[in-house]
Amino acid sequence: MSRIATFWVWGVFGFMYLPIAMILLFSLNASDVMAFPLRGFTTQWYQAILADARLGAGFVTTLWVAFPVAIFTTFFGAIAALALTLYPMRGRGVFVVVLLLPFIVPRLILAVSQLIFLKEMGIDRSLWTVIAGQSILILPFATLIIASVLIRIDRRLIEAAADLGASRWSSFRRVVLPLMSNGILASWVISFVLSSSEYVLTAFLSGREQPLSVLVASDFRFNISPSLNALAVLIVLGNIALVVLAESIRRRSGRKT
């Protein structure tokens, strides 16, 4: 029983990593055709990607979007998580539903509704509209990450601070904030990753300056080349590194409390 389950789990994890392994393999393969048998080792596809000025500019645009998005979602996610856990608000149930709405609504429908909204308001599309749109989409994730750290905080610490005469603000600043700081960091990193890989909403809301994901999507539709493998591998590795970083930060906070 247990052995079958072990095989099953290995199989499922294999399935999850098979596509990633495949693009890694072909990104180093010295052939224009993405097919077996492999033709030998090359780094030419990576060199082609790193030398591509258009993609380089797109990457910089992605960073310009992802930094503010991660700051906004983490700030709003933090106050939302506090209102849900340590400082319970009125109407929590309704709040949770509204908070999850950007996650439930199909992304394309959210994108077109925001597009109509911009048109009605007479706002032109720019990087700011991308930042606003992505922020609301990623907010549920940021809130969940920070809330998952907050629910593990021992309430007695806050009560003790109050008993010892600490004001609300100083107990927040000197007890709660240090304990939630790892959650804040993890939320920032995950939001950054989610923002940089977001495509549908970004494509609808971006104006002339296009982030990397939008540029990649048009390449992907019109000319598939092995250098796209190299780009995909770089994106995946960058994201994995950041996610592992975020997870280890978040987990460290679990051990401390």
Binding site: A5, W8, P19, A80, V105, I109, S113, S213, E247
Partner: protein, 287 residues
């Protein structure tokens, strides 16, 4: 669970509610208003009408596409439940020290983004791709299957891949809170394995199954990119129809009506699912 309601909590939530209102609720509301407008060549007539909803309800194409979206969603929920159930059990009950490593490993491919994942499946499933080559090497076929990519099969493989982790997380949470004493007691009382699963484990993990299934269901029904880029001719979905109506076809009101029809059905499903979770967890707490 009953905590004193905190005034500060209300003030903290206020900016979040404002942001959600401005960037999500208000746009959806305007979309709703648009769904009652009409379009005349290139101008939008602001006279309220139900014509768009009548068109959606009366069109066999749209009805078919909506039914297919939810059919696909149910299918993927079923597949991910079957694949994910043993994985969730294993992580909750057999892994001791490295639990969060397993969960992180499961989630990591999610963060690479839709485009990268779809691109990888294109490489895998293409005529010269790894799957075809393996099949030929195994002697299953002499010529590569050209129909592997750009088919409903490719779409559903990728959809399963995309949303399996959500199902596993939902089930894992249920398994974590499942007390082994119940299954042990059933075994001591002589219940065979099949009955233990059917009458103890399954009912007690039902809330997780519904929660995971609900997430997968909603996300598959609303997925635009995966069918579009892997489905070929079968990639026309109700969501891509909305996209076309907002783009080339320029009929925003009809697009809005279709979008709101989808939203209404999804919200209904979510409401029913939430109720079902509450009832099933009530059962598992009550026993």
């Amino acid at each position: 669970m009953s905590q004193p309601v905190d005034k500060i909590g209300n003030w903290l939530a206020l900016p979040v509610v404002a942001a959600l209102t401005a960037l999500c609720l208000a746009p959806l509301l305007i979309l709703f208003v648009y769904s009652f407008f009409q379009v005349d060549f290139v101008t939008i007539l602001h006279e309220p009408t139900f014509a768009n909803y009548a068109k959606v309800a009366g069109s066999e194409t749209y009805r078919g596409l909506i039914a297919r979206a939810f059919g696909s969603a149910l299918l993927v929920v079923g597949i991910t439940a079957i694949i994910g159930y043993p994985v969730a059990w294993f992580i909750a009950k057999r892994v001791v020290a490295a639990k969060s490593t397993f969960l992180t490993l499961l989630l990591v491919p999610l963060y690479s983004g839709d485009l990268v994942r779809i691109f990888a499946w294109r490489v895998l499933l293409g005529a010269e791709g790894a799957v075809n080559r393996s099949l030929m090497w195994l002697g299953v076929t002499d010529t590569p299957f050209g129909g592997l990519l750009f088919s409903p099969l490719a779409t559903h493989i990728a959809l399963t891949y995309n949303y399996l982790p959500f199902m596993v997380i939902g089930l894992w949470l249920a398994f974590e809170s499942l007390d082994d004493a119940w299954t042990e007691a059933a075994a001591d009382l002589g219940a065979p394995a099949v009955d233990r699963f059917r009458r103890v484990t399954l009912p007690l993990t039902l809330p997780g199954l519904i929660a995971g299934g609900l997430m997968v269901f909603v996300m598959v029904a609303g997925d635009y990119l995966t069918p579009q880029l892997l489905g070929g001719a079968s990639g026309i979905t109700i969501i891509s129809a909305v996209n076309d109506l907002f783009g080339t076809a320029f009929d925003w009101p009809l697009g809005s009506a279709i979008a709101w029809t989808m939203l209404a059905i999804l919200m209904l499903c979510f409401g029913v699912g939430a109720l079902a979770i509450r009832r099933s967890s009530f059962i598992s707490e009550g026993t």
